[in-house]
Symmetry: C3
Subunit: 383 residues, 3 copies
């Protein structure tokens, strides 16, 4: 049983145990990191294990580490487009299997760390392809691209590990840019839509519709998975909510901040309506607000600053990469988050070491308990 | 009193004390790092302290660390254009205050290290803006951009500190490029002049005027502050002279080398006349000749090599960034200086640890004393 | 005599001693690293020493460390074009002499580590120049560019040494790109041919000729030295064969893989025929297959993966850099090799520390002996 409070148990499971005493047992079994699942799975079939690793990988894209959330997100992707759903499954499996084959650290593999770049590469390859759905040749670059992510993840982690930085979605961003450059706009086998910088298009002619902008804020969460439909976006938001309400709040907040930044720079309206202005802000806000830093009002303000920075950097990078026909993907949020993690000063005091990052609520709980000190600790052991 | 020679005094103040005995007391109070001022300011009003930090920040742009030089430079900027002077003050205050608020190291803040990127961002935003002077909306990006420099400075110093490298003006270069990309050429709120690569313009039609080229060498020093007028440029040079004559000589020498490099590559004449060809050379030459390395004939030759490298790299980067409408700013000098600081071999023997960098004369003095050995040391303590 | 087996002899010379007992003495004197030559040269004239250092530098371009191979390669370059041969000699001498003057580590200089970037810079400057052969002014940038490589090599090695990464041809790639940017397409003194991205040209109109493609695979080895003639390419391949047959096999294999990757992406036919599609694959394959990693079937598979990665990355980077008129040089292979060296997992177990890299056969030999254990060791010392 995962609920007994042995002394050698780490802070994470202890904090969960406390919460569960307050009657949230049944919900908590599905919320949070679901570490107990890993223990149940240890002697199961490899295929079942792989499924859990893959689902964790799917959820990791949006800073969630929960197989159930992963399943919900996968369902949302199928709902939006069955072809994209297929690509997502293929991408996450290709990269996770590659990681197993080339002998990556098994804790990383089972935590889904080798899956989330693969799924993003496969989804974006599908989105940018101009050959339409069910173009089976696309599965070839999807598998190869997803597999290559593992190489980049492993190599980059050697470098970034020196500063205790997560590799995040750098591999995805590099691979998708290389793929689009490699195929070019006129490739006979793998054609794709080129991106254009905002200034090359005609300026906004129509009036801004407030409801559409509100819709765009929600779609911003879906756009993290390159999904532009409202229903699936809400389902993805629900999957985040299941893992951590605090993270879900920051996702919507960040998306709103990103949309605001887009408005201040007069970006094109369809970019606001589709949620493309918001998703970098959402990612930047989630990373700082509670995930890599203990939640507090100060961290919350930094999260908003991070969302603004991500959003403006995204506009800048879209314009830069657009000149050579490339999309900005999530470069802006990834770079901004890396910058925030490197920051010294008052934010650094809230930094959680990369290896100990859990759901924001658990991060908060374990720190508040730790600060409440040994008094309560003694009391609980007396009982 | 700062002149008594206690044993716990560090080499810096001791070497100054030696010089002062030779009758330069009154001038030296204003020259050099003016560390004695910091002690006088400790219990003064915050506003006064902030002013000194800001003025140090202004002077740091040109590798000077002296509030009086900062005041002279600020006067020069006001002289050239009151609007630019206002932006400069706002930029340096915005970034210094941000550094105080987000809890950066107080020694760094009081040394002006968080101000010099802010002033550069605000000055360049003003120069590139095509909305004319006194366009008050510009104050918004000026404040935000300057504040963001602190985030970049802090983040980059975590990475570059591993190699004992100074962050230099990397934050300024990144922010100004992102700002120009973000607004784009046709932004309705913040329009700006796009840069064009040299090869897109018609070639030089007229004959080169030698006097104008000479003038351009002096303007090259002013262009470090984006100032293209002769009088203010001379005043800025005077501010450097007050801090360190050696640095001033290297500034003019570097600017001349840069102009020479420009001539050898047949750059456009107006680039030579305006000093834009020279300022990267000047920065590259100043950094190596006496500042980060003890001055000697060998260092002097490396300084000239560094000036050439900076100047040629600037021409190359101008052409590269010009293709997407961006200016090269001081990327070339910053990268070259970083390279020189990383160099192994005979130059590394003259390297001064980043934390102990003072005015070139003091660097030289403290090293020559240190080499003269303990004999003199003992003699002075006997007295 | 270099064959006696003293206990203080390192594994390298011991493994060579073993092989030599099997009757390969005379050939082995010319094959492998030829370390015995260094000992003979120690008290010779500086000019003779410089020649050996330079020839090692020439061979280092293709991961060979053997002065005789260097001489063969130089002969091949003269055969292809006497002007290119002259530039090659000048480039390697300029950079090696600069390294001596600015006081670089003498072991590095005598190992030819400061020569191979210089020769590449000078060869490529000659190839891209549109002023024709025997344009004597070109010697000026050739000397300066080659000399600058030493600065970059030294600076980059300080950074990359933290991860035990070789600097490889990063300096060459940086300098040639800066040179081409600096001069631009319309420079009156140093004109050069601009590169164009593949998609800007008309698509392939004719049918693919299989024999020409086969020829292109061999030319791919020559293209490492920017040499597009069949005879000299075969001579270069022979020079590699002299040093290490395993390396030569991987060179041809990698070039074939690169050509295959080019076919899969429908690159232009003349790029396949000229060997330009193959040379990055060849470099990527050689580095992983036996050089930086002990040879085994697993490493061999990784070498093929590395060749594919290099080749695809080269197509991508050619398209990217082509948009600003720049060639991709060997950026792709250099970056891919760096990535492979950073990889954790099963490949890292075969990693040879950068300082101990020898010819693949010797790497293999010293490891197999080491694994055979002390039993054989004891036996041999008994004799």
């Amino acid at each position: 049983m995962w609920m007994d409070t042995k002394t050698e148990e780490e802070a994470a499971s202890r904090s969960r145990a406390r919460l569960s005493r307050r009657g949230l047992n049944s919900l908590l079994l599905c919320a949070g990191d679901m570490e107990h699942l890993d223990k149940c799975m240890q002697d199961k079939l490899f295929v079942l294990q792989l499924a859990v690793w893959g689902l964790r990988g799917v959820s990791r894209v949006i800073y969630v580490n929960n197989p159930l959330s992963g399943a919900l997100i996968l369902a949302a992707l199928y709902w939006a487009s069955p072809w994209q759903g297929l690509l997502a499954v293929l991408g996450v499996l290709a990269s996770t299997l590659t990681a197993v084959i080339i002998g990556q650290d098994s804790a990383e593999v089972s935590g889904g760390l080798h899956g989330f770049n693969g799924i993003l590469v496969s989804l974006l390859m599908g989105v940018f392809s101009s050959a339409g759905d069910w173009y089976w040749w696309l599965l070839l670059p999807v598998c190869l691209g997803s597999a290559t992510c593992v190489f980049l993840f492993s190599g980059l982690s050697s470098v970034m590990g020196r500063w205790d930085l997560p590799v995040a979605v750098f591999p995805f961003n590099i691979i998708i840019v290389l793929y689009l450059l490699c195929t070019g706009p006129g490739n006979p086998y793998f054609p794709h839509h080129p991106a254009v910088p905002a200034w090359a298009l005609e300026p906004n002619g129509t009036k801004l519709i407030a409801v559409e902008v509100m819709r765009g804020v929600v779609l911003g969460v879906g756009q993290i998975f390159a999904c532009g439909a409202l229903g699936p976006s809400l389902l993805i938001l629900g999957a985040v909510l299941l893992y951590s309400p605090l993270l879900a709040v920051h996702a919507v907040l960040g998306s709103a901040v990103g949309t605001l930044a887009g408005l201040s720079m007069a970006v094109r309206h369809d970019s606001l309506y589709s949620g493309l202005s918001g998703f970098n802000g959402a990612l930047g806000c989630m990373a700082v607000g509670g995930l890599f830093f203990t939640f507090s009002w100060r961290t919350h303000l930094f999260a908003i600053a991070s969302a603004f920075l991500s959003a403006y950097a995204d506009i800048a990078l879209s314009n830069l990469l657009g000149t050579v026909g490339l999309p900005a993907c999530s470069w802006a949020a990834t770079l901004t988050t890396t910058l925030m993690l490197l920051l010294t000063g008052s934010l650094a005091a809230y930094r959680i070491p990369t290896g100990q990052v859990m759901a924001p609520e658990l991060n908060l709980c374990s720190r508040s308990q730790w600060e409440a000190g040994n008094a309560e600790e003694r009391e609980s052991t007396d009982v």
